[in-house]
């Protein structure tokens, strides 16, 4: 079985929909920021050397930056 995909697996410019979380220990901020199941997001950019990533939630002009450790907790399903 392939491991479930997380935001971490997205390449620049790819979009996905959030399906759930990898653990119960996801910081409350993730939820408060609106990274919730069903939300569509786009990978905007990744910084080199495993630096933080930058994503956009659909129709929201504000970007969100996450470390890869947090991004890996959020599970997704790729969108074409």
């Amino acid at each position: 079985m392939t491991p479930p995909l997380s935001i971490c697996f997205l390449r620049k410019g790819e979009s996905a929909v959030i399906t759930g979380y990898r653990s119960h220990e996801v910081p409350i901020k993730v939820y408060e920021m609106g990274l919730l199941p069903g939300v569509v997001l786009t990978m905007k950019q990744r910084l080199p050397f495993n630096g933080p990533i930058c994503i956009y939630i659909k129709d929201n002009p504000n970007a969100i930056a996450l470390r890869t450790a947090e991004a890996d907790l959020i599970l997704i399903e790729s969108l074409p």
Partner: protein, 694 residues
């Protein structure tokens, strides 16, 4: 007439401070919340017949706190006994993230507080073609909704009028899940709460700091007995609220969702680019430091001349002697030594608040996170470290947005290593005395050494952060979740108010200390006990027969100083500082520097003028002429000068910083460790440098 207390609450980046500044104008003041130094802004204004006191609470995404900032919001709102507990809450949101703000609004209403709702930044929504049906929103929220654009002032009058509005009862949106109702009931009885949601809130906190120890322990016991994981309760609540809201908002927000290439996206292509983003940031840093030095030049010269004139005329008006020296060299020169830094500090804070206001600061956090993480810091530490180049006090306070306790503590502990502006007068005067005015590969050597001192400060901060990271353990996971808002033109008014607050805070704080130290020094240096002090003249005469009257007077003065209380103190610590290359007079400067570094120069001026009758020389000339009585060499030679530079680079010599660290860490242990580590390290570095160079 009684005042109504209202509180502004909202998510970060919604223009809440702009709303606050619009409401109160200049009638506002910054202070601290009791117990923590999270900055509190309050202001007053009247509208019609009503008078209001407005509190600008820190930005929060939800009521459940995950940083010190958000803890303040929770405590002020949850505790009716809190002196800042409001009668009315104004919840501020922005059109693109309305759901978040409504979530916070519902939580506040369900806590039993009255609230009205503001949608700010409507101008941006209009430009994007997004519209909000305020009437429908009012029905859903059950309160008054005001659409504003605080930057232009649109809607502010309507907001002021609406402050009289008190909404009716709020129908709870969130109902406590059945499996927790027993535990919630127990908390409700324990605390005598009227409200189910308040019981739930207490149950879903990891710590209940605002409660008495006994009650907090009782809640912890209830949590344990019912196997409650507070974190999961918070998640459950947030998810439930979001699900409900999704359905309710569909008819209220009309978003054509047309493809909009925002200016922000285009700017970010450069500003957070994996390569160019860093280039831009470092060029900007260079530009800022360049600006601090070149732009401040004329202002500093003007201030310098004004104080020199003031000092000279005071010196002429008053009879010569030690009191004259206290006033002119001690107090006036000391205050001048602070005022002269206003231009530099103001310029730095202008840049910092421009970066914050425009939204660029969050990009700096994003860019720097990867490079600060190995040192046990977070990207958010970049802000305190940069502000530390102006003054450690506001810098330490700005660490409060760091969620992780360990990262926050390390940031606070290492920030005072950054070269603050108080170190500058010492660096400049010592470098001027001991570093030759030469050109090295086309660059000014003195300037290079000064630049080197800045690099040294950064290296010391990062190095000790790394050491602390190895030594400290943490229970909380470190994380970075950061919103990067759209770029905005900074509001001049916000920047001006911020710069004014920060600069005045620095000047008044340091001014008080200088005044006090100067007077204490003067008293200690003018009086003494013992044969050597009271009989100074006879002793000098006996030792130097045939001495001329003029030389005699000078000798007597310095004999008196040496045996005054101050001199006794200086000679007492001399054995400890002699290996560093300092004489006892410099020792006095060192001791008084523990109140604040910047008093070193004024202290030396007081000490040297007490010890002579000659008032003509400037501080610098006097320091250059001073001979160390033990070594017979100039007191400020290359070896002792470098040793002094290193000591001031590393030692924790600022009472205000110590006080703020104590408050912010809420721990004497860490405050003491910081003081001992920095000062011990400074001593060793200075010792090594002097012994190798002498």
């Amino acid at each position: 007439m009684t005042e109504t207390t209202i509180a502004l609450v909202g998510n970060p980046n919604v223009g809440k401070s702009t709303v606050f500044n619009r409401l109160t104008g200049l009638r506002q003041k910054a202070g601290n919340y009791p117990g923590v130094t999270v900055e509190k802004k309050t202001g007053n204004f009247s509208h019609g017949h009503a008078r209001y006191r407005v509190i600008d609470l820190p930005g929060a995404y939800g009521i459940h706190p995950s940083s010190l900032d958000e803890e303040v919001v929770y405590e002020v709102l949850a505790d009716p006994a809190n002196p800042n507990h409001p009668e009315l809450v104004v919840v501020v949101g922005e059109p693109f993230n309305l759901k978040r703000a409504i979530l916070l609004y519902q939580q506040i209403r369900e806590m039993g507080l009255a609230a009205i709702f503001v949608v700010n930044m409507m101008d941006e929504a209009e430009r994007a073609g997004l519209s909000i049906d305020a009437h429908k929103l009012e029905k859903v929220l059950g309160t008054k909704v005001i659409l504003t654009d605080a930057r232009s002032g649109k809607g502010i009058e309507a907001l002021k009028t609406s402050l009289q509005h008190r909404p009716g009862d709020h129908e709870p949106v969130f109902s406590i899940p059945d499996e927790y109702s027993d535990a919630a009931q127990q908390v409700k009885e324990l605390l005598g709460l009227k409200n189910d949601y308040m019981a739930w809130l207490h149950l879903s906190q990891r710590r209940n700091n605002h409660l008495a120890e006994k009650e907090a322990a009782a809640i912890a016991a209830i949590q344990r007995k019912n196997k409650i994981n507070p974190h999961r309760l918070q998640i459950q609540e947030t998810l439930a609220r979001h699900t409900k809201l999704n359905g309710q908002l569909t008819h209220i927000i009309k978003d054509p969702a047309k493809k909009r290439e925002h200016v922000t996206e285009r700017l970010d292509k450069l500003l957070i680019h994996p390569v160019w983003g860093y280039v831009v940031f470092f060029v900007l840093l260079l530009l800022i430091f360049q600006a601090i030095y070149t732009w401040s030049g004329p202002f500093m010269d003007a201030i310098d001349n004004a104080f020199a004139w003031l000092s000279a005329s005071a010196s002429e008006q008053l009879p010569a002697g030690p009191l004259n020296g206290l006033l002119t060299d001690g107090i006036i020169a000391g205050i001048g030594g602070i005022v002269i830094f206003i231009p530099q500090i103001a310029i730095l804070f202008i840049f910092i608040s421009l970066m914050e206001e425009s939204g660029y600061m969050s990009r700096v956090v994003y860019l720097m996170d990867r490079w600060l993480r190995p040192f046990g810091l977070s990207g958010k530490s970049a802000v305190p470290l940069m502000s530390g180049a102006a003054c450690a006090i506001p810098a330490v306070m700005s660490a409060r947005t760091i969620e992780n306790d360990k990262e926050r503590l390390i940031t606070i502990l290492v920030t005072p290593f950054m070269t603050c502006s108080a170190r500058l007068p010492i660096y400049i005067i010592i470098i001027g005395l001991v570093i030759p005015q030469e050109q090295v590969i086309g660059l000014d050597l003195q300037g290079l050494v000064l630049f080197g001192m800045y690099i040294l400060g950064i290296a010391a901060a990062l190095g000790s952060a790394w050491v602390l990271k190895q030594l400290m353990k943490t229970n909380y996971k470190s994380f970075l979740i950061l919103e990067m808002p759209t770029y905005k033109y900074p509001v001049v008014r916000n920047v001006a108010l911020n710069v004014w607050d920060k600069t005045m805070g620095f000047v008044l704080g340091a001014g008080k200390i200088i005044l006090a130290i100067s007077i204490i020094l003067w008293v200690l240096g003018t009086f003494g006990i013992g044969e050597q002090f009271t009989n100074a003249e006879a002793i000098v005469r006996a030792q130097n027969p045939g001495i001329t009257e003029e030389v005699l007077e000078n000798e007597v003065q310095s004999q008196k100083l040496e045996y005054s209380f101050l001199g006794t103190l200086g000679r007492f610590i001399e054995p400890a500082i002699e290996p560093l290359g300092y004489d006892w007079k410099m020792g006095i400067g060192l001791i008084s520097s523990f109140a604040a570094r910047e008093v070193f120069v004024s202290t030396m001026a007081t000490v040297y003028s007490l010890g002579s009758t000659d008032d003509e020389l400037t501080i610098r000339e006097r320091m250059a002429a001073e001979i160390n009585p033990t070594t017979g060499r100039p007191a400020y030679n290359f070896a002792s000068g470098i040793s002094l530079l290193l000591f001031y680079a590393f030692a924790m010599q600022c009472m205000s910083t110590i006080a703020i660290v104590r408050k912010e860490t809420n721990s004497w242990k860490w405050t003491f460790i910081q003081l001992a580590f920095m000062t011990g390290f400074a001593y060793l570095a200075a010792l090594l440098a002097y012994q190798l160079l002498k």
